[in-house]
Protein backbone atom coordinates (compact mmCIF):
# COMPACT_ATOMS: atom_id res chain seq x y z
CA UNK A 1 0.00 0.00 0.00
CA UNK A 2 2.82 2.31 0.97
CA UNK A 3 4.65 1.47 -2.29
CA UNK A 4 1.57 2.35 -4.38
CA UNK A 5 1.24 5.69 -2.62
CA UNK A 6 4.93 6.38 -3.04
CA UNK A 7 4.72 5.62 -6.78
CA UNK A 8 1.72 7.94 -7.16
CA UNK A 9 3.52 10.69 -5.29
CA UNK A 10 6.54 10.37 -7.59
CA UNK A 11 4.32 10.55 -10.71
CA UNK A 12 2.38 13.51 -9.35
CA UNK A 13 5.58 15.37 -8.41
CA UNK A 14 7.17 14.71 -11.80
CA UNK A 15 4.11 16.08 -13.60
CA UNK A 16 4.03 19.13 -11.35
CA UNK A 17 7.71 19.83 -11.93
CA UNK A 18 7.30 19.42 -15.70
CA UNK A 19 4.23 21.65 -15.85
CA UNK A 20 5.95 24.29 -13.77
CA UNK A 21 9.10 23.99 -15.89
CA UNK A 22 7.18 24.29 -19.15
CA UNK A 23 5.05 27.13 -17.81
CA UNK A 24 8.20 28.93 -16.75
CA UNK A 25 9.64 28.38 -20.21
CA UNK A 26 6.51 29.68 -21.92
CA UNK A 27 6.33 32.70 -19.66
CA UNK A 28 10.02 33.30 -20.29
CA UNK A 29 9.46 33.17 -24.04
CA UNK A 30 6.38 35.43 -23.91
CA UNK A 31 7.51 38.04 -21.44
CA UNK A 32 10.13 40.35 -22.75
CA UNK A 33 12.76 39.58 -20.17
CA UNK A 34 15.32 41.65 -22.00
CA UNK A 35 13.13 44.75 -22.42
CA UNK A 36 14.80 48.10 -21.83
CA UNK A 37 15.05 49.25 -18.20
CA UNK A 38 14.50 45.75 -16.89
CA UNK A 39 17.06 44.31 -14.55
CA UNK A 40 19.14 41.56 -16.12
CA UNK A 41 18.20 38.25 -14.50
CA UNK A 42 20.83 37.07 -12.02
CA UNK A 43 23.18 34.79 -13.93
CA UNK A 44 26.20 32.94 -12.63
CA UNK A 45 29.16 32.06 -14.79
CA UNK A 46 32.31 30.03 -14.26
CA UNK A 47 35.31 32.22 -13.46
CA UNK A 48 37.92 32.09 -16.26
CA UNK A 49 41.06 30.10 -15.46
CA UNK A 50 43.12 32.56 -17.49
CA UNK A 51 44.39 35.24 -15.12
CA UNK A 52 44.49 37.94 -17.81
CA UNK A 53 40.77 37.39 -18.45
CA UNK A 54 40.06 37.51 -14.69
CA UNK A 55 42.02 40.75 -14.48
CA UNK A 56 40.09 42.16 -17.43
CA UNK A 57 36.82 41.44 -15.63
CA UNK A 58 38.20 42.51 -12.23
CA UNK A 59 37.34 39.21 -10.62
CA UNK A 60 39.04 37.38 -7.76
CA UNK A 61 40.06 33.75 -8.12
CA UNK A 62 36.95 31.74 -7.25
CA UNK A 63 34.82 29.09 -8.88
CA UNK A 64 31.96 31.22 -10.18
CA UNK A 65 30.75 34.81 -10.22
CA UNK A 66 27.63 36.86 -10.89
CA UNK A 67 27.59 39.13 -13.90
CA UNK A 68 27.08 42.17 -11.63
CA UNK A 69 30.50 41.50 -10.07
CA UNK A 70 32.26 42.45 -13.30
CA UNK A 71 34.01 45.76 -12.68
CA UNK A 72 32.74 48.17 -15.31
CA UNK A 73 30.10 50.81 -15.94
CA UNK A 74 28.76 49.26 -19.11
CA UNK A 75 28.80 45.59 -19.96
CA UNK A 76 28.08 44.34 -23.48
CA UNK A 77 26.97 40.71 -23.57
CA UNK A 78 26.79 38.74 -26.81
CA UNK A 79 24.64 35.62 -26.67
CA UNK A 80 26.11 33.48 -29.43
CA UNK A 81 26.65 29.89 -30.51
CA UNK A 82 29.56 28.21 -32.20
CA UNK A 83 26.93 26.61 -34.43
CA UNK A 84 25.32 29.90 -35.53
CA UNK A 85 26.38 31.14 -39.01
CA UNK A 86 25.58 34.80 -38.18
CA UNK A 87 27.74 34.57 -35.05
CA UNK A 88 30.58 33.10 -37.09
CA UNK A 89 30.25 35.83 -39.72
CA UNK A 90 30.10 38.63 -37.13
CA UNK A 91 33.04 37.33 -35.06
CA UNK A 92 35.84 39.37 -36.75
CA UNK A 93 33.80 42.60 -36.55
CA UNK A 94 33.00 41.95 -32.90
CA UNK A 95 36.71 41.51 -32.23
CA UNK A 96 37.14 44.95 -33.81
CA UNK A 97 34.59 46.30 -31.35
CA UNK A 98 36.70 44.97 -28.48
CA UNK A 99 39.89 46.50 -29.97
CA UNK A 100 38.06 49.81 -30.46
CA UNK A 101 36.96 49.86 -26.82
CA UNK A 102 40.37 48.90 -25.50
CA UNK A 103 42.18 51.47 -27.65
CA UNK A 104 39.99 54.38 -26.60
CA UNK A 105 41.21 55.82 -23.29
CA UNK A 106 37.82 57.37 -22.58
CA UNK A 107 36.07 54.05 -22.90
CA UNK A 108 38.60 51.37 -21.93
CA UNK A 109 37.92 50.00 -18.47
CA UNK A 110 34.45 51.55 -18.35
CA UNK A 111 33.00 49.36 -21.08
CA UNK A 112 33.64 45.64 -21.10
CA UNK A 113 32.49 42.73 -23.22
CA UNK A 114 31.71 39.08 -22.65
CA UNK A 115 30.16 36.33 -24.79
CA UNK A 116 27.92 33.52 -23.60
CA UNK A 117 27.78 30.45 -25.85
CA UNK A 118 24.27 29.11 -25.65
CA UNK A 119 24.14 25.31 -25.78
CA UNK A 120 27.92 25.24 -26.25
CA UNK A 121 30.24 23.07 -24.17
CA UNK A 122 33.56 24.38 -22.86
CA UNK A 123 35.27 22.49 -25.70
CA UNK A 124 33.04 24.15 -28.30
CA UNK A 125 33.64 27.58 -26.76
CA UNK A 126 37.36 26.93 -26.99
CA UNK A 127 37.04 25.94 -30.66
CA UNK A 128 35.16 29.16 -31.43
CA UNK A 129 37.66 31.25 -29.45
CA UNK A 130 40.65 29.77 -31.28
CA UNK A 131 39.00 29.86 -34.70
CA UNK A 132 38.19 33.56 -34.52
CA UNK A 133 40.97 34.60 -32.08
CA UNK A 134 38.42 36.08 -29.68
CA UNK A 135 40.27 38.30 -27.19
CA UNK A 136 37.45 38.85 -24.68
CA UNK A 137 36.04 36.27 -22.23
CA UNK A 138 33.61 33.65 -23.54
CA UNK A 139 31.52 31.43 -21.29
CA UNK A 140 29.90 28.07 -21.90
CA UNK A 141 26.18 27.57 -21.33
CA UNK A 142 26.09 23.90 -22.28
CA UNK A 143 22.79 23.05 -20.61
CA UNK A 144 21.00 26.24 -21.80
CA UNK A 145 20.51 27.48 -18.21
CA UNK A 146 21.48 31.08 -18.97
CA UNK A 147 19.64 30.90 -22.28
CA UNK A 148 16.42 30.03 -20.47
CA UNK A 149 16.95 32.81 -17.91
CA UNK A 150 17.28 35.26 -20.76
CA UNK A 151 14.04 34.20 -22.44
CA UNK A 152 15.39 31.73 -25.04
CA UNK A 153 16.54 34.44 -27.43
CA UNK A 154 17.85 33.65 -30.89
CA UNK A 155 21.51 34.19 -31.67
CA UNK A 156 23.40 36.44 -31.98
CA UNK A 157 21.74 38.62 -29.35
CA UNK A 158 23.34 41.74 -27.89
CA UNK A 159 22.57 43.07 -24.43
CA UNK A 160 23.94 46.28 -22.91
CA UNK A 161 23.69 46.65 -19.16
CA UNK A 162 24.53 49.57 -16.96
CA UNK A 163 26.08 48.89 -13.60
CA UNK A 164 25.35 52.34 -12.19
CA UNK A 165 22.24 53.98 -10.81
CA UNK A 166 19.26 52.78 -8.83
CA UNK A 167 18.69 49.62 -10.82
CA UNK A 168 21.69 47.33 -10.72
CA UNK A 169 22.33 45.63 -14.05
CA UNK A 170 19.79 47.78 -15.87
CA UNK A 171 19.27 46.74 -19.49
CA UNK A 172 19.67 49.77 -21.73
CA UNK A 173 20.35 47.98 -24.99
CA UNK A 174 18.70 44.82 -26.31
CA UNK A 175 19.05 43.74 -29.91
CA UNK A 176 18.69 40.58 -31.95
CA UNK A 177 21.32 40.25 -34.66
CA UNK A 178 22.02 43.27 -36.93
CA UNK A 179 25.60 44.05 -35.85
CA UNK A 180 26.41 47.00 -38.11
CA UNK A 181 30.14 47.45 -37.62
CA UNK A 182 32.29 48.21 -34.58
CA UNK A 183 32.20 52.04 -34.68
CA UNK A 184 28.48 52.36 -35.34
CA UNK A 185 27.64 49.73 -32.76
CA UNK A 186 29.79 51.32 -30.05
CA UNK A 187 28.39 54.72 -30.84
CA UNK A 188 24.81 53.39 -30.59
CA UNK A 189 25.56 51.62 -27.32
CA UNK A 190 27.24 54.63 -25.73
CA UNK A 191 24.40 56.94 -26.76
CA UNK A 192 21.82 54.49 -25.43
CA UNK A 193 23.63 53.83 -22.16
CA UNK A 194 22.67 57.01 -20.33
CA UNK A 195 24.63 55.64 -17.38
CA UNK A 196 26.15 58.93 -16.25
CA UNK A 197 22.79 60.71 -15.93
CA UNK A 198 21.55 58.05 -13.56
CA UNK A 199 24.42 58.49 -11.15
Amino acid sequence: MKTIKFGRIIIACTFMITILGCANHLVAADRDILALDNQLPAIKLTTPEDQSLRNFLGLPEKESFSVEEIKCEILIIEIFSMYCPHCQKDAPAINELYELIESDKKVAGRVKMIGIGTGNSAFEIDVFKKKYKIPFPLFADADFTVHEYLGNVRTPYFIGICNQGKIKNRIFFSQLSGFNGAEKFLDTVLKASNCKQEK
Binding site: F123, K131, F144, E148
Partner: protein, 201 residues
Amino acid sequence: MKRKLVIILTLMICSSFMISAQTFALTDSFRNSIYNPGPLKPLDSLLKVKVGDRAPGFSLPSVSGKIISLSDYRDKKIVVLSFVPAAWTPVCSDQWPGYNIVEELFEEQNAVLLGITVDNIPTLFSWIQQMGDLWFPVLSDFWPHGAVADSFGLLRTDGVAERALVVIDKNGIISYIGVGDINVRPPLEVLIKELQKLNSK
Protein backbone atom coordinates in the same frame (compact mmCIF):
# COMPACT_ATOMS: atom_id res chain seq x y z
CA MET B 1 6.44 -4.17 -12.31
CA LYS B 2 3.58 -2.22 -13.90
CA ARG B 3 4.11 0.61 -11.45
CA LYS B 4 7.80 0.81 -12.35
CA LEU B 5 6.91 0.93 -16.04
CA VAL B 6 4.42 3.77 -15.47
CA ILE B 7 7.00 5.73 -13.49
CA ILE B 8 9.68 5.24 -16.15
CA LEU B 9 7.25 6.25 -18.96
CA THR B 10 6.16 9.32 -17.00
CA LEU B 11 9.76 10.39 -16.49
CA MET B 12 10.52 9.84 -20.20
CA ILE B 13 7.51 11.87 -21.37
CA CYS B 14 8.29 14.68 -18.95
CA SER B 15 11.97 14.85 -19.84
CA SER B 16 11.10 15.03 -23.55
CA PHE B 17 8.96 18.11 -22.81
CA MET B 18 11.82 19.70 -20.88
CA ILE B 19 14.25 19.02 -23.75
CA SER B 20 11.89 20.68 -26.22
CA ALA B 21 12.67 24.03 -24.67
CA GLN B 22 16.27 23.66 -25.82
CA THR B 23 15.53 22.12 -29.19
CA PHE B 24 14.45 25.35 -30.74
CA ALA B 25 17.26 27.57 -29.54
CA LEU B 26 17.87 28.71 -33.07
CA THR B 27 20.34 30.91 -34.77
CA ASP B 28 18.74 33.97 -36.35
CA SER B 29 20.22 32.90 -39.70
CA PHE B 30 17.21 30.68 -40.32
CA ARG B 31 14.49 33.00 -39.08
CA ASN B 32 11.12 32.13 -40.70
CA SER B 33 12.62 29.38 -42.87
CA ILE B 34 12.68 26.44 -40.48
CA TYR B 35 9.86 23.96 -40.08
CA ASN B 36 9.27 23.19 -36.42
CA PRO B 37 8.16 19.56 -36.04
CA GLY B 38 7.92 19.82 -32.25
CA PRO B 39 9.61 17.37 -29.92
CA LEU B 40 10.15 13.97 -31.54
CA LYS B 41 10.52 10.50 -30.11
CA PRO B 42 14.22 10.45 -29.12
CA LEU B 43 15.03 7.16 -30.88
CA ASP B 44 12.95 5.25 -33.41
CA SER B 45 15.11 2.59 -35.04
CA LEU B 46 17.24 -0.44 -34.24
CA LEU B 47 20.90 -0.54 -35.18
CA LYS B 48 21.84 -3.20 -37.72
CA VAL B 49 25.59 -2.75 -37.25
CA LYS B 50 27.93 -2.59 -34.26
CA VAL B 51 31.45 -1.42 -33.51
CA GLY B 52 33.92 -3.84 -35.12
CA ASP B 53 31.64 -4.63 -38.08
CA ARG B 54 32.56 -3.79 -41.64
CA ALA B 55 30.57 -0.70 -42.62
CA PRO B 56 27.91 -1.33 -45.28
CA GLY B 57 29.21 0.04 -48.58
CA PHE B 58 27.36 2.79 -50.43
CA SER B 59 27.50 5.18 -53.36
CA LEU B 60 25.37 8.31 -53.12
CA PRO B 61 24.96 11.48 -55.19
CA SER B 62 26.33 14.62 -53.56
CA VAL B 63 25.06 18.17 -53.93
CA SER B 64 28.17 19.04 -55.97
CA GLY B 65 27.11 16.49 -58.58
CA LYS B 66 29.75 13.85 -57.77
CA ILE B 67 28.85 10.31 -56.81
CA ILE B 68 30.64 9.53 -53.57
CA SER B 69 31.36 5.99 -52.43
CA LEU B 70 32.59 4.86 -49.05
CA SER B 71 35.24 2.82 -50.85
CA ASP B 72 36.78 6.07 -52.23
CA TYR B 73 38.40 6.59 -48.83
CA ARG B 74 39.56 3.00 -48.22
CA ASP B 75 43.21 2.93 -46.98
CA LYS B 76 43.32 6.74 -47.23
CA LYS B 77 41.08 8.46 -44.68
CA ILE B 78 39.00 7.89 -41.61
CA VAL B 79 35.37 8.54 -42.57
CA VAL B 80 32.85 10.27 -40.33
CA LEU B 81 29.23 9.89 -41.41
CA SER B 82 26.93 12.54 -39.98
CA PHE B 83 23.35 11.42 -40.47
CA VAL B 84 20.83 14.17 -39.73
CA PRO B 85 17.06 13.69 -39.87
CA ALA B 86 15.95 16.26 -42.43
CA ALA B 87 16.75 19.53 -44.13
CA TRP B 88 15.07 22.71 -42.88
CA THR B 89 14.50 21.44 -39.35
CA PRO B 90 15.76 23.05 -36.13
CA VAL B 91 18.69 21.08 -34.72
CA CYS B 92 19.98 19.91 -38.10
CA SER B 93 20.17 23.50 -39.30
CA ASP B 94 22.83 24.39 -36.78
CA GLN B 95 24.73 21.11 -36.40
CA TRP B 96 26.44 21.33 -39.81
CA PRO B 97 27.23 25.08 -39.67
CA GLY B 98 29.15 24.18 -36.49
CA TYR B 99 31.11 21.47 -38.32
CA ASN B 100 31.71 24.03 -41.05
CA ILE B 101 34.24 25.90 -38.89
CA VAL B 102 36.22 22.86 -37.76
CA GLU B 103 37.65 21.56 -41.02
CA GLU B 104 41.13 21.75 -39.43
CA LEU B 105 40.09 19.45 -36.59
CA PHE B 106 39.07 16.80 -39.12
CA GLU B 107 42.26 17.33 -41.13
CA GLU B 108 44.39 16.94 -38.00
CA GLN B 109 42.78 13.55 -37.48
CA ASN B 110 43.14 12.58 -41.17
CA ALA B 111 39.36 12.25 -41.35
CA VAL B 112 36.73 13.24 -43.88
CA LEU B 113 33.21 14.20 -42.96
CA LEU B 114 30.24 13.13 -45.08
CA GLY B 115 26.86 14.65 -44.29
CA ILE B 116 23.89 12.45 -45.19
CA THR B 117 20.15 13.11 -45.17
CA VAL B 118 17.18 11.42 -46.82
CA ASP B 119 16.28 14.63 -48.71
CA ASN B 120 16.59 15.02 -52.46
CA ILE B 121 19.35 17.06 -54.11
CA PRO B 122 17.33 20.24 -54.91
CA THR B 123 16.20 20.46 -51.26
CA LEU B 124 19.73 19.92 -49.99
CA PHE B 125 21.07 22.47 -52.47
CA SER B 126 18.73 25.19 -51.16
CA TRP B 127 19.37 24.28 -47.54
CA ILE B 128 23.16 24.39 -47.96
CA GLN B 129 22.91 27.77 -49.67
CA GLN B 130 21.13 29.03 -46.57
CA MET B 131 23.90 27.62 -44.37
CA GLY B 132 26.49 29.51 -46.38
CA ASP B 133 28.19 26.61 -48.20
CA LEU B 134 29.88 23.71 -46.48
CA TRP B 135 33.42 22.38 -46.90
CA PHE B 136 32.32 18.74 -46.64
CA PRO B 137 30.25 16.73 -49.15
CA VAL B 138 26.54 16.46 -48.48
CA LEU B 139 25.00 13.25 -49.79
CA SER B 140 21.41 12.52 -50.71
CA ASP B 141 20.03 9.22 -49.44
CA PHE B 142 16.72 10.01 -51.08
CA TRP B 143 16.25 7.11 -53.49
CA PRO B 144 15.80 4.23 -52.80
CA HIS B 145 14.48 6.18 -49.90
CA GLY B 146 16.83 6.10 -46.89
CA ALA B 147 18.50 2.90 -48.09
CA VAL B 148 21.92 3.79 -46.68
CA ALA B 149 20.50 4.93 -43.35
CA ASP B 150 18.51 1.71 -43.26
CA SER B 151 21.58 -0.41 -43.98
CA PHE B 152 23.05 0.93 -40.71
CA GLY B 153 19.72 0.62 -38.89
CA LEU B 154 19.32 4.38 -38.68
CA LEU B 155 16.07 4.89 -40.61
CA ARG B 156 13.13 5.89 -38.44
CA THR B 157 9.63 4.63 -39.00
CA ASP B 158 8.52 8.00 -40.42
CA GLY B 159 11.19 7.87 -43.16
CA VAL B 160 13.78 10.30 -41.75
CA ALA B 161 17.16 9.30 -40.36
CA GLU B 162 18.30 9.32 -36.77
CA ARG B 163 20.73 12.00 -35.62
CA ALA B 164 23.84 9.81 -35.67
CA LEU B 165 27.59 9.89 -36.06
CA VAL B 166 29.43 6.86 -37.39
CA VAL B 167 33.23 6.66 -37.49
CA ILE B 168 34.77 4.21 -39.98
CA ASP B 169 38.50 3.46 -39.94
CA LYS B 170 40.72 3.28 -43.01
CA ASN B 171 40.03 -0.44 -43.32
CA GLY B 172 36.30 0.16 -43.53
CA ILE B 173 35.59 -1.08 -40.00
CA ILE B 174 33.16 0.79 -37.75
CA SER B 175 34.99 2.16 -34.71
CA TYR B 176 32.22 4.33 -33.21
CA ILE B 177 28.46 4.69 -33.49
CA GLY B 178 26.75 7.57 -31.68
CA VAL B 179 22.99 7.60 -32.02
CA GLY B 180 21.65 10.31 -29.79
CA ASP B 181 18.32 11.87 -28.99
CA ILE B 182 17.06 13.29 -32.30
CA ASN B 183 16.09 16.52 -30.50
CA VAL B 184 19.58 17.25 -29.20
CA ARG B 185 22.77 18.24 -30.99
CA PRO B 186 25.69 15.94 -30.09
CA PRO B 187 28.63 17.73 -28.43
CA LEU B 188 31.59 18.11 -30.76
CA GLU B 189 34.14 16.86 -28.23
CA VAL B 190 32.67 13.35 -28.20
CA LEU B 191 33.39 12.95 -31.91
CA ILE B 192 36.85 14.53 -31.74
CA LYS B 193 37.82 12.27 -28.80
CA GLU B 194 36.74 9.21 -30.81
CA LEU B 195 38.91 10.32 -33.73
CA GLN B 196 41.87 10.91 -31.41
CA LYS B 197 41.35 7.50 -29.84
CA LEU B 198 41.32 5.84 -33.25
CA ASN B 199 44.48 7.64 -34.33
CA SER B 200 46.33 6.77 -31.14
CA LYS B 201 45.85 3.01 -31.72
